[in-house]
């Protein structure tokens, strides 16, 4: 599989007034392959948002190299690379540029000089992908947070990107909006094989990823599949992350002497294990 993004020994620290330098990102190396769903998890201040800024070229690393689509990210190829990736930010209101849904989806297309006929086609196509077709002429203040984030995803998809980055895209949404957005991204990934990097502090969301990078104090603490990462539950809790509900329950049950087999990532898995547990005894 083709590599789509790699960081090599990347470090970055924000300029401060005093001499004390705290590295927001400290010698991080990672690589993401085409078609993967990656979750970068960490508590506030773990450096995960700085990482997003480094990947999209809002910041440049002081040390190390960021390669996107096998090219080193520089000031020269910045706009070209940005036209091939999409990003969805945290606040649904503050990234809605257009006055209606369709204007907002077209914004990135306008910026890249796509001809009008092609724009119309792509706007409809991407709104259909996020199931917002009937909201074409809606104004942002008549949409829910989840709907606005879906429009933001459509705006990113309109560029037909190879990589979609979600920077805490669900953290300001209610549970329903959050589910809507996650379901849409899941579907998209299955259908189009889009590479997704989701930066989050929500471990439930991270469960859906192929691989998880756990960040703490600017360093990668752990890498692996959700199963592998959640084996070290206590360590995750010690850096301030909340374990998914099912995992927490199964751990507590085990502590209280109930013998459970295997790992339970979702509530369904746990419930199945529990109601069948008597048959095995």
């Amino acid at each position: 599989m083709k590599e789509i993004l790699s960081l090599e020994q990347v470090s970055y620290s924000y300029p401060t007034d005093d001499d004390e330098v705290v590295k927001a990102i400290d010698g991080v190396s990672l690589s993401v392959k085409d078609g993967e769903w990656i979750a970068i998890v960490g508590h506030n201040g773990s450096g995960k948002s700085t990482m997003a800024k480094l990947i999209i070229g809002l910041l440049f690393p002081q040390d190390g190299v960021v390669n996107v689509f096998n090219e080193q990210l520089t000031n020269e190829n910045l706009w070209d690379i940005r036209s091939r990736l999409g990003i969805v930010f945290q606040n649904p209101d503050n990234q809605f540029v257009g006055s209606t849904v369709q204007d907002d989806v077209a914004f990135a297309l306008e910026n890249n000089g796509i001809p009008f006929e092609e724009m119309v086609k792509r706007v409809h196509e991407s709104l259909k992908q996020v199931k917002m077709s009937e909201f074409l002429d809606h104004e942002p203040h008549h949409l829910s947070g989840g709907q606005k984030q879906r429009v933001a995803i459509a705006g990113a998809l309109a560029l037909r990107p190879n990589l979609l980055i979600m920077d805490e895209a669900t953290s300001m949404l209610d549970p329903q909006g959050r589910d809507e957005v996650i379901r849409i991204v899941q579907e998209l990934k299955q259908r189009t094989g889009l590479t997704v990097i989701s930066i989050t502090h929500d471990l439930e969301e991270a469960l859906l990823a192929d691989r998880i990078f756990v960040m703490n104090k600017g360093k990668i603490l752990q890498t692996g599949t959700p199963d592998e990462v959640f084996k070290h539950g206590e360590q995750l809790e010690s850096i301030g992350l909340d374990m998914p509900f099912a995992l927490r329950v199964s751990e507590l049950l085990r502590k209280n002497g109930l013998s459970l087999e295997g790992e339970h990532m979702t509530e369904e898995e746990l419930v199945n294990e529990l109601w069948t547990s008597h048959f095995k005894m």
Binding site: I56, W79, R82, D103, N111, V120
Partner: protein, 265 residues
């Protein structure tokens, strides 16, 4: 009070006027405003008034709704009318009420100025009532395009305007939220002397400004990441189309100005 105000409000519809290109409407109103000053006798003022009523009729906006919404302006018009009647002392004496003497010239002037005022306000109101703010912005951007040569940042101005329009409801919601939060903490902005009330508004404005700046920063980042690099090499999703309707309205405008020119004394 605010619900009745029709300044800057847009009433969606599908009349002839609604369907006009914003550029032709803007040009029309611009030249109409200038042409109003050509009028100086009964025939020309009559024509202006008749034409305006005709436009209102085809815009399918109810006259009652329009006049009701323009009440504050109507009061101003009546006031200027009275001023003219009372203070112009030319021509023959019409009515003599001892304290107030009404002369023919005063009555004439009063009526003319009131019609001029009324016609201007009605026409501009029809423009904003039948054209969405974003269309007006698009039209302005397009009409001002030739001035780019003189370093007028047309695209930037239009973008600023459309973003401001888009954020009005967002900031209104926010103001409401902050107001409620401050009320819950015992802030009181509806009673007390004017000085006290103005002071009470400060805890409302400070958080609003802080959050507006934060929004602006995030929006700028979002725009940059989505490839915004200024107007250069940008295509446009909102297309303006000049139709036969627009040509008709321009012809009508020329005819109106011609008629005013011929009829004026």
């Amino acid at each position: 009070m605010l619900e009745k105000m029709i300044f800057g409000r847009y009433i969606p519809g599908d009349s002839f006027i609604h369907k006009l290109d914003p550029r032709s409407k803007l040009l029309f109103v611009l030249f109409f405003v200038v042409a109003v000053f050509l009028a100086n006798n009964v025939a020309t003022y009559g024509l202006l008034l008749a034409f305006t009523l005709f436009v209102i009729f085809i815009s399918r906006i109810r006259l009652y709704f329009l006049l009701n919404g323009l009440k504050p302006i109507l009061i101003l018009i009546i006031f200027t009318f009275l001023m003219h009647i009372i203070f112009t002392k030319e021509g023959t004496l019409l009515v003599d009420l001892k304290i107030i003497k009404i002369y023919e010239e005063g009555l004439r002037q009063g009526i003319f100025i009131s019609i001029r005022f009324l016609v201007l306000v009605l026409m501009t109101s029809i423009l904003t009532l039948t054209t969405s703010p974003i269309s007006i912005t698009d039209g302005m951007e397009d009409l001002l395009n030739p001035f780019k040569r003189f370093k007028l940042p047309v695209h930037e101005l239009a973008l600023m305007m459309s973003i401001s329009l888009r954020f009005i409801p967002t900031l209104m919601d926010e103001t409401d939220k902050i107001l409620k939060a401050q009320l819950a903490r015992g802030s009181d902005i509806s009673t007390g002397s004017i000085k006290q009330r103005i002071r009470a508004v400060i805890p409302l404005l400070v958080p609003l400004f802080v959050s507006a700046f934060k929004r602006a920063e995030e929006l700028a980042i979002a725009m940059e990441v989505r490839g915004y690099r200024g107007g250069e090499g940008r295509t446009r999703y909102r297309q303006l189309t000049w139709g036969s309707r627009d040509t008709i309205s321009m012809v009508l405008l020329v005819m109106l100005i011609g008629a005013l020119y011929l009829l004026k004394g």
